[in-house]
């Protein structure tokens, strides 16, 4: 045992004993005092660690007694002492039992408290040397278990030797032996968990506190106190406290599904040990620690500080990465040992003992929110895994650990953002932690792509207020990209202005459509990728990189994926156009009044239309991968499309959603209703008369009919459904949506609202408004149900130019 100079004077311990057990103060008052840091002195006396009377309070708080509430007349120490004495004997007998080798011997220098003479090695003749012999290969050789136990003790010992290397107390050989024994006894009596790393660091402070408060019989005349604080039973008392703590915490050490221990069949009906029935369902096993951590971050933290939660979520922080250590060690690595002990005082004094712990973690997170929110993934991880030491604070304000307890309790009792912000305010007032989250540092960037941050004051920004949205990442964007991202802003501004001017709905729709289409279009024109997506993996993609330079876990960038989707949409659109043309062709009237030449042409056209429908079917079924435009549209239509309006590049045409053009200018425009009504009948009648030889299968002719309608609607609809692209949704609802993903314009400031910049300076005029114009000159509209859109588009030129 370490020399006595490391312990307080016996009077201090007796004084504390008097105060705790003989002052007549009710338990609840003592607990309140301990929680508020008023029960014990908060300045460690010896070794920077010891606080007299701490173990007395812990014993009182942790060890259950019978009767649970002693009569008021009786000293609360009495039943506690009885309880202690019983458990001490239990520990001694466990030691005797578990530490004995199969031949009845004990290790050298082994001693059991309260047992003067260890039982002699049994020389009984009954011992079966056939089996009971260290070298026996027999299945039931008890030595096998013994050797496993020796290995276990070695494992424990390895950690015990590394316990709190900064504190000399734990370097003492005797202390290490006792710690090893306690952990060994615990793990053999809890075989479902066994020994797990971390337990040693939980036990060590308990053992230290008990030892610190221990008394030798000569040190005090008071028998009761000496018995309560008996130095003989330090290890046993530490074991008792440890078992009590583990009662609640062992689930955090659970690492495999608990198996109910086998028991006699006769008992099976009376007593159910192990997990309750509900746990036995077929679910993948998730360790309780992981569940606790997930709850900590995604429920508790989210309730108290949604902004911080969002930032951590966005960075992809998995709570178990930090939570495991925080919880399993009860924060001994996050704070200095004396500070952690103060936290333990509060934790142990709570009735529902460990429910407070996750809330302490939440309060800890809130305390470092200024470091977390602006940081990226590795930044956040560094702070979480190396919790910053407390700042120098005003000596008048409460100890930072006490403050943490108080905050945790406030959050526990009312878990909501307002409590969260009052915690932040308290931190500012008492710990000088500013409320404002600092600007994120420029995050690590690829060397070759310099970061240019573009800022503006769009209303998206304003809505989030001065406290800023937690844009954890800051994105390096090229100037062109910010311009690209400015498009929707512009369109939105127009939309809002238009609304105030009372411009009609159709126009509004058109503008909003334009707005919705722009990001995607723009992203195709300007080959700059949109910034990385969130929730992509736990690894934030710091910048967009060319694929050959990307590390292998960044398989596909958001840009690539969006690109693919855009390709798909373009293809869909083409098919829609093709189907549209086909339908138009099929709808042509072969009336009597036409001359034979026209009829022949129409028939030819119809045959082509059916061929193209068949081709669309193949495309949709995925049997063809390469798109052959000629086959898609039919010969004539294809020719027409081959020479698009000269002013535009091919890619623009493709994405700028040209409306399906009629194959036959002569086709009369019909009111949409009539159009639809007739759609199904006439072609069906006329089809059989067509030459079908070129078609692969006949049923196709009938099949596409119902599809025609839907396809056409889809094709028509594709001009609008582009807004379904997830990114643009958030535009209309930036505050909510930004939680789930980061649409580029949600976090990239655009400089669109600056007065100097108007549509004239845009890199390219919005294409959607342009293409219909040029197209119209070529082919007059045939679809009446296309008209509203078209009109709108035409009209949309106006407000774009007219509005400032």
């Amino acid at each position: 045992m370490p020399d006595t100079s490391a312990r307080p004077e016996p009077q201090k311990i007796t004084a504390m004993y008097e105060r705790i057990f003989r002052s007549g103060a009710p338990l609840s008052k003592l607990k309140d005092a301990a929680f508020g840091g008023r029960l014990l002195s908060d300045t460690p006396e010896q070794d920077g660690l010891g606080v007299a009377g701490r173990s007395l309070a812990w014993k009182l708080f942790l060890i259950p007694t019978t009767p649970l509430t002693p009569p008021a007349s009786q000293s609360p120490a009495k039943p506690l002492l009885e309880s202690l004495e019983g458990r001490r004997k239990e520990y001694a007998s466990l030691l005797l039992e578990k530490m004995r080798a199969p031949d009845g011997s004990y290790e050298e220098n082994f001693s059991v408290p309260g047992v003067a003479q260890l039982p002699q090695q049994s020389d009984e003749a009954s011992m079966n040397l056939q089996r009971n012999n260290p070298l026996s290969l027999h299945e039931d050789n008890p030595w096998k278990d013994w050797f496993a136990a020796v290995d276990l003790r070695k494992t424990i010992r390895q950690d015990v030797e590394r316990t709190f290397p900064d504190h000399d107390y734990f370097r003492d050989a005797e202390v290490q032996v006792q710690l090893t024994n306690i952990l060994y006894i615990y793990s053999v009596t809890h075989s479902d968990i066994g020994y797990r790393q971390g337990m040693h660091e939980l036990l060590a402070p308990l053992y230290y506190s008990v030892d610190y408060d221990s008394l030798d019989p000569i040190e005090s005349p008071d028998k009761e106190i000496v018995e309560f604080c008996s130095r003989t039973w330090v290890a046993a008392d530490a074991w008792i406290l440890f078992s009590e703590v583990m009662e609640d915490m062992s689930c955090w050490y659970e690492w495999r599904e608990p198996t109910p221990p086998p028991m006699p069949a006769s008992l099976q009906n009376q007593y159910r040990h192990g997990p309750p029935e509900g746990r036995l369902e077929l679910k993948p096993y998730i360790a309780p620690i992981v569940l606790t951590c997930q709850r900590l971050q995604s429920q508790l933290l989210k309730a108290a500080d949604p902004l911080l939660w969002q930032a951590m979520q966005k960075a992809g922080i998995e709570p178990q990465i930090y939570g495991i250590r925080w919880l399993r060690l009860l924060l001994t690595r996050e704070f200095s040992l004396p500070d952690a002990m103060i936290l333990w005082d509060g934790i142990f004094s709570c009735d529902s003992t460990f429910e407070l712990v996750p809330w302490i973690c939440v309060a800890m997170l809130i305390r470092i929110r200024n470091q977390l929110i602006p940081a990226d993934y590795s930044g956040q991880l560094s702070v979480l895994l190396r919790y910053p030491p407390p700042m120098d604070i005003d000596p008048a304000s409460p100890h930072h650990a006490i403050l943490l307890l108080r905050q945790a309790f406030a959050l526990y009792t009312s878990p909501n953002p307002s409590t969260g912000s009052s915690v932040a305010i308290e931190n500012r007032n008492l710990l000088n932690i500013p409320l404002e989250v600092p600007e994120p540092q420029p995050s690590p960037v690829r060397t070759r792509r310099p970061a240019t941050r573009v800022r503006s004051s769009t209303d998206v920004r304003k809505a989030t207020g001065p406290s800023r949205t937690p844009q954890g990442q800051n994105i390096s964007v090229k100037q062109s990209q910010s311009l690209q991202l400015g498009f929707p802003e512009l369109a939105r501004g127009l939309l809002e202005k238009g609304e105030s001017l009372g411009i009609n709905k159709t126009l509004m729709n058109a503008v909003s459509e334009l707005r919705k289409n722009i990001p995607e279009l723009a992203s195709q024109f300007i080959g700059s990728p949109p910034p990385e997506s969130s929730n992509y993996s736990s690894f934030p993609l710091v910048t967009e990189r060319p694929p050959e330079e990307r590390p292998p876990w960044e398989h596909r960038t958001r840009f690539e994926m969006e690109h693919d989707i855009a390709d798909l949409r373009a293809l869909q659109k083409k098919m829609g156009d093709a189907v549209g043309s086909a339908v138009d062709a099929l709808l042509q009237d072969e009336g009597e009044e036409r001359d034979a030449e026209t009829i022949k042409r129409i028939r030819n056209r119809k045959r082509e239309a059916i061929e193209s429908l068949a081709y669309v079917r193949d495309l949709l079924k995925g049997t063809t991968t390469e798109v052959d435009e000629e086959r898609l549209y039919g010969e004539e239509e294809y020719k027409r499309r081959r020479w698009p309006p000269t002013s535009q590049g091919g890619d623009i045409k493709q994405t700028s959603s040209p409306p399906p053009r009629p194959p036959e200018p002569a086709v009369p425009a019909r009111p949409s209703l009539e159009h639809r009504r007739q759609k199904s009948s006439p072609p069906a009648q006329s089809l059989p008369s067509h030459p079908l030889s070129s078609l692969p299968r006949t049923p196709v002719i009938v099949q596409p009919q119902p599809e025609l309608v839907s396809m056409k609607r889809v094709a028509h609809a594709t001009t609008l459904p582009r807004q379904r692209s997830s990114s643009s949704q958030s535009l209309s609802n930036p505050t909510i949506e930004s939680n789930t993903f980061r649409a580029p314009w949600n976090y990239t400031k655009s400089n669109f609202s600056t007065p100097t910049l108007n549509s004239a300076t845009l890199p390219r005029p919005p294409p959607t408004s342009q293409s219909p114009v040029s197209m119209r000159s070529e082919a007059p509209p045939s679809y009446t149900n296309q008209m509203p859109v078209r009109q709108a588009r035409k009209a949309s030129n106006d407000p774009l130019g007219a509005l400032p």
Binding site: D159, R162, G198, W255, G323, P551
Partner: protein, 213 residues
């Protein structure tokens, strides 16, 4: 985060340290990232993490090195631990035969949880303990060859080969990654909590997603 975090880099590689408890993983980490060694360091609980930026072939490579508790094949954090890891240092203690015997189990762990193309280096640590050597260099070398691992003996205490070991695994990763790679087979919506497969295979050209039609 400050200092190291603000430097720019070309590549970011995640490398995990695995191996039995007490073989010196944490000290390898601290030796490499901070040039520190601590004879009695605390046992690792959960995860530790540190970064260091080095130069490989003129490129700046930021190594993000993860260290975990050896005792537990830490189920609770396995998926998070191995996710995205492109390299693993499988560490054993040359003075402790059992830690070498367990290498096989750690390899299985890697097979189960890490990407199949993860670059693995077998590291015999504590090479300063010559007088206590229990695992012969040749024996380990042979094992490494049989399992297609690279191999090196290090000492975090006297710093021998530590730098070299990390350098060479990072270089190997870099070669593979820059040699070209990227199979886009993985669902982009990786959710935390799932283990994912990431391919680092050298192989056919996958240059995709260039310009559309």
């Amino acid at each position: 985060m400050a200092g190291e975090g603000t430097t720019s880099y070309d590549y970011l590689f995640k490398v995990v340290l695995i191996g039995d408890s007490g073989v010196g993983k944490s000290n390898l980490l601290s030796r490499f990232t901070r040039n520190e060694f601590n004879l009695d360091s605390k046992s690792t609980i959960g995860v530790e993490f540190a970064t260091r930026t080095i130069q490989v072939d003129g490129k700046t490579v930021k190594a993000q090195i993860w260290d975990t508790a050896g005792q537990e094949r830490y189920r609770a954090i396995t998926s998070a631990y191995y996710r995205g890891a492109v390299g693993a240092l499988l560490v054993y203690d040359i003075a402790k035969q059992s830690t070498f015997e367990n290498v096989q189990r750690w390899l299985k762990e890697l097979r189960d949880h890490a990407d199949s193309n993860i670059v693995i280096m077998l590291v015999g640590n504590k090479s300063d303990l010559r007088h206590l050597r229990a695992v012969l260099t040749d024996q380990a070398q042979q094992f490494a060859e049989e399992n297609h691992l690279s191999f090196m003996e290090t000492s975090a205490l006297d710093a021998s080969n530590v730098e070299l070991a990390f350098q060479s695994i990072l270089t190997e990763i870099y070669r593979i990654v820059s040699a070209k790679s990227l199979e886009n087979t993985v669902d982009p919506s990786i959710k935390p909590g799932e283990s994912t497969t990431i391919s680092v295979s050298t192989g056919e050209d996958q240059k995709k997603a260039g310009c559309c039609s």
